[in-house]
Each structure stands twice: as structure tokens, then as C-alpha cells.
């Protein structure tokens, strides 16, 4: 790792410097590398947030839905997603010039290596896909999920990113989405809703209590999400400047306000503050501030955090009593929270805090219009993709597996294990193991 320091010694003096264009801004680059890492960590956080809230028998399956998104969407983003979102093209879709990362070298744009833009944006694509898994846990077939997010990240996420951030038509409309309220949260929330409706509810839904098996994991997840969100919102300033600081600081205040408001609502309604509630409040506060993070004042961010909780809170309660099994409430948290945030941004955006305009009724409507377009596109697109995937691999597992829990039948593992009563089946070293190990009559010595 000290190699670079020794380049001169090794005789290729000056080589490294040949690349170092004058315009690289090292501080901004550092901040964006950090932010990319932070957003990455949100995916791990999400795995625990979701994984802790499901039942023990589905814990691994749920966590793996986030982890596998790192692999699948990481690759689809490299192959084509980034190109569709950010390569030159028209107002509706980027071009193919970045296909397979071609044309992306070590060049700098606006002080930052383009490759870093690719990586930073890639983590957004990944987490958006992972977010929607919350709606379909405990019953979606893992293979169908893998195919679905591969397609969805290319066909739904990338175009929306183009429209809003890549100089597309929603951008030109004047819609403000600082860090992804529409592209990430409304989008994921709506897709989650559509998927939940298409898959139908879990067999036990509304009949049995399905309690979170490890609430501490949900708290860990919420903590890592909040931490990572400093990069999500702060990094979206694309510079280590006041706006990054504003976005970061607002990402501290909005969820703080959301926490307190949720606690008050909980006390008022139940007489007690719940832990799952607090974890949820954090997420809603962060979702709410996302679209306006770098363009509203700190006091506005407190208000946004506080106000965004209200509609979501009641959607949560309504949902739990309804027949809509959006299992981990992706719609209530990200869809509704994202919409609240988008609209409130239209009101609170301020030029004194770096916003392109001041809040106004017309901006409010522009925000709403952009959200609406995203909602329609996301809903219709998700529906079509899910229908298509269903032809390849049924979206839903058989009822028997659902009752048994997905970890053992789909992944051959248990999240927590004692090993008691598990017998080792010897595999001859070097031999290729058979796909379906023979089950021997009990009592027969292996």
C-alpha cells in the first residue's frame, strides 16, 4: 500500500502525476468517497432493520434480500444502469455510451472522478432496490426476487434517476429532489405497494401475531441507516461545502424531531413509547428531509421531520388493520414519507439556504406533479415487470414453505442454531456433491 509513495524509486517517476489533472478537488473527492461508503453501509443497516422485524424462520431470507442487491444491482448499474441514467441521451433516457463502463476512465468532472459519481450513484440504486424487499418478505421466491430487482433497477430506477437528476424532464420542470425523495423513496414505496398487492398477503396475516424476532437488530439497522444517511444527504451536495453541512445537519435534526413526535403520538395513543416505533420514526424523519436536505433551513428541517411523521403514523395504523400486507410498511415509511417530504420541500425551500427558489404554492404543485409522474411510472412499470417475472419464476413460494419459514427450504440454513440433533453427512473429499442429498432411512448408519 505504500507502493504509490515508492513509484519514483521504481523508475516510473511522474507517472502517477500524469493522471492527476489539475482540477481534481481532493477534499470533495474525500467527502464523496466517505459518502459512498456511508450509503453502502445503509444497505447493511437495512438488512438488519428488515431482518430484525420478521419472524425468526425468515430472518436470513430477509437479510439476504439486501445483501444480494449489492451484487445484482451493483452489476446491473455497471453494465447499463449508470449509462441509462447519466450518459448523454435525451430528456427521457440516457444513452448507451457508458455501457459496461466504457468511456469512463480516470477523468475528472466538476472536480470529482467520474468513477466516483458512478460508485456513489450505484449505492443509491442498490439501496432503492433493497428497500422494496420489505413489502414482500416471508413469501416471495428468492430467485424471482433476484430477477425482479435486476430488471427493476434498469427499467424503473435508472430512467427515474435520469428524469430527476440527469437533466431529464422532471428536472427541467423545476422539481427539487436534493437527495432522492422521489427517485429513491417514493419510487421504492410505490413499487413496494404494487408488489405487496400482486403477491397477496401472507397466510398468517391478520390471523396470527407475527412479532419481530429481534428488535435490537431493528434498532441497529435504524442506527446504521441514520449514520449512512449523513452520506446519502450530505454527499448529494457533491462537495464538502456549506450545503453538504446543511444537508448533514438537517439529517440530524429532522429525525430527532420525528423521534420526539412519534414518542408523543405513542404516549398519547398507547401510553407507552415503543422501540419499533422509534426505529420507524428515525426512518420517516430521514425520508422526509431527503428531498429538501440541502435547500431548507435547520428550523424547517425540524418542522419537516415533525410533520412528515403524522401522515405516515396514521397510514401505519390503518395498514396494520387493513388487508394490505405491505409487511414492513415500505409504503407508509418511504412512499408516504417521501411524498410528505417532497411536498414540504416545495413549501420550505429557501434561496437563503441554497435553494433554487423560495417555497411557494406553485413549487408545491410542481413537487406534487413530479411525484405523481414518478408514482405512475413506478407503479405501472413495477406491475409489468412483476407480471413478466412471474412467467419465468412464480413470485410466491408454496404455502407449505411459507408455513415452514423460508430460511431452511430456500437457503438450507437456519439463522440461529444449536446443532443439537444435527447429524453430519460425510461428503467424500473432492467428489462433486449431489444436488439432492439422499435421505437415508432413519437409523441406518451413514
Amino acid at each position: 500500500m505504500k507502493m504509490r509513495k515508492l513509484l519514483p524509486l521504481l523508475g516510473f517517476l511522474g507517472f502517477g502525476f500524469a493522471f492527476a489533472q489539475a482540477d481534481l478537488n481532493a477534499a470533495n473527492t474525500t467527502w464523496l468517497m466517505v459518502s459512498t461508503s456511508f450509503v453502502f453501509l445503509m444497505v447493511v443497516g437495512l438488512a438488519f432493520f428488515y431482518g430484525g422485524l420478521v419472524r425468526r424462520k425468515n430472518a436470513l431470507n430477509t437479510m439476504m434480500m439486501s445483501f444480494i442487491a449489492l451484487g445484482i444491482v451493483g452489476l446491473t448499474w455497471a453494465v447499463i444502469g449508470y449509462s441509462l441514467a447519466y450518459a448523454d441521451g435525451n430528456q427521457f433516457l440516457g444513452g448507451f455510451s457508458y455501457f459496461m463502463l466504457s468511456g469512463i476512465g480516470l477523468d475528472i468532472s466538476d472536480g470529482i472522478p467520474v468513477l466516483l459519481d458512478f460508485a456513489f450513484q450505484g449505492t443509491f440504486a442498490i439501496i432503492t432496490a433493497a428497500l422494496l424487499s420489505g413489502a414482500i418478505v416471508e413469501r416471495m421466491r428468492f430467485s424471482a426476487y433476484m430477477i425482479f430487482i435486476a430488471l427493476w433497477s434498469v427499467l424503473i430506477y435508472a430512467p427515474l434517476a435520469k428524469w430527476v437528476w440527469g437533466g431529464g424532464f422532471l428536472d427541467r420542470l423545476g422539481a427539487i429532489d436534493f437527495a432522492g425523495g422521489t427517485v429513491v423513496h417514493i419510487n421504492a414505496g410505490i413499487a413496494a405497494l404494487v408488489l405487496a398487492l400482486m403477491l397477496g398477503k401472507r397466510k398468517d396475516y391478520g390471523k396470527k401475531a407475527m412479532l419481530p424476532h429481534q428488535v435490537p437488530f431493528a434498532l441497529l439497522g435504524a442506527g446504521l441507516l441514520w449514520f449512512g444517511w449523513f452520506g446519502f444527504n450530505g454527499g448529494s451536495a457533491y462537495a464538502a461545502d456549506q450545503f453538504a453541512v446543511l444537508a448533514m445537519s438537517n439529517s440530524l435534526l429532522a429525525p430527532a424531531a420525528a423521534l420526539v413526535v412519534w414518542a408523543i403520538l405513542d404516549i398519547w395513543r398507547l401510553g407507552k413509547v415503543t422501540a419499533v416505533g422509534l426505529a420507524t420514526a428515525v426512518v420517516i424523519g430521514l425520508v422526509g428531509i431527503t428531498p429538501g436536505a440541502g435547500v431548507v433551513s435547520p428550523v424547517s428541517s425540524i418542522l419537516i421531520g415533525a410533520l412528515a411523521v403524522l401522515p405516515s403514523y396514521y397510514v401505519f395504523i390503518w395498514r396494520a388493520g387493513s388487508s394490505l400486507d405491505d409487511s414492513l410498511d415500505v409504503f407508509a415509511a418511504h412512499g408516504v414519507g417521501g411524498l410528505s417530504g417532497a411536498l414540504l420541500t416545495g413549501i420550505f425551500v429557501s434561496t437563503a439556504w441554497g435553494g433554487p427558489v423560495n417555497g411557494s404554492l406553485s413549487q408545491f404543485f410542481i413537487q406534487g406533479l413530479a411525484a405523481l409522474i414518478a408514482i405512475v411510472y413506478s407503479a405501472v412499470g413495477t406491475f409489468i415487470i412483476a407480471k413478466a417475472v412471474n412467467l419465468l419464476a412464480p413470485l410466491r413460494v408454496e404455502d407449505k414453505l411459507e408455513a415452514q419459514g423460508l430460511d431452511v427450504p430456500l437457503h438450507g440454513e437456519e439463522a440461529y442454531s444449536d446443532g443439537e440433533g444435527a447429524l453430519l453427512i460425510p461428503v467424500k473429499a473432492g467428489s462433486s456433491t449431489s444436488r439432492t442429498p439422499v435421505t437415508k432411512p432413519l437409523g441406518t448408519k451413514a
Partner: protein, 119 residues
């Protein structure tokens, strides 16, 4: 007095409990157990090592009943715990010599009649 000790499927616990309550049997003790019977066992794989799970998760219910409730308890369990597939479990009936209610020291029949609170 008899002790009805039933091994049932985990996922049937809710149904069995509801059925028992409907049959006015309120006192019951539940424990998590693992069973081995004729069920196909699961195979799991951890980085190359393949493992056969000989035991599958079950739940045991223990219910102390008077002779007059015995048949009702057994039949309720048999009916509500059945799925028809191998692995539904067993019901054992064990003789009890004495039963005490710890709170009062009451014995036998009086010891197993529950006192409802908050009803």
C-alpha cells in the same frame, strides 16, 4: 387426575390453544421441544458441509385434568392439531397422584380450576 402431555406441530399451537379455550380448558403449560419421528428430515448446507437435521421443532402441551375433563382435552387436541401429514405428533396420558395449586395449597380437582382475572 391425569396429565395430558401432547407433542404437536409448532405452527398448530395457536389453533390448539384457541380450541382448548373454547372447550373451557384454560390451564396449560407449553414448552418448546424438538421431535424425531417419521418426518422427512431437512438437509442444510454450510460452506461445503452437508448436515441432516434429525430433529424438527415441536411444541409440547401439558395439561393437568380431572378424569371428567380428560376425554374432552384429548379429543380437542386430536381434532385441532391434526393436519393429516406425518409429523402431527402424539398425545400421552399420564396418571397423576396429586396436584397442588401453589398459590393456595389447594389439592387435586380444586387445584386445576382456573381463576379468571380481568375477564
Amino acid at each position: 387426575m391425569k396429565l395430558v402431555s401432547a407433542i404437536i406441530r409448532k405452527e398448530k399451537l395457536n389453533d390448539v390453544l384457541t380450541a382448548l379455550f373454547d372447550a373451557e380448558i384454560y390451564g396449560v403449560t407449553v414448552s418448546k421441544v424438538q421431535g424425531h419421528g417419521g418426518e422427512t428430515e431437512q438437509v442444510e448446507t454450510y460452506r461445503g458441509a452437508t448436515v441432516k437435521m434429525e430433529l424438527s421443532e415441536k411444541v409440547r402441551l401439558d395439561i393437568g385434568v380431572t378424569e371428567s375433563f380428560l376425554e374432552r382435552a384429548v379429543q380437542t387436541i386430536l381434532a385441532s392439531a391434526r393436519t393429516g401429514e406425518v409429523g402431527d405428533g402424539k398425545v400421552f396420558v399420564i396418571p397423576l397422584e396429586k396436584v397442588y395449586r401453589i398459590r393456595t395449597g389447594e389439592k387435586d380437582a380444586r387445584a386445576v380450576t382456573p381463576v379468571l382475572v380481568g375477564g
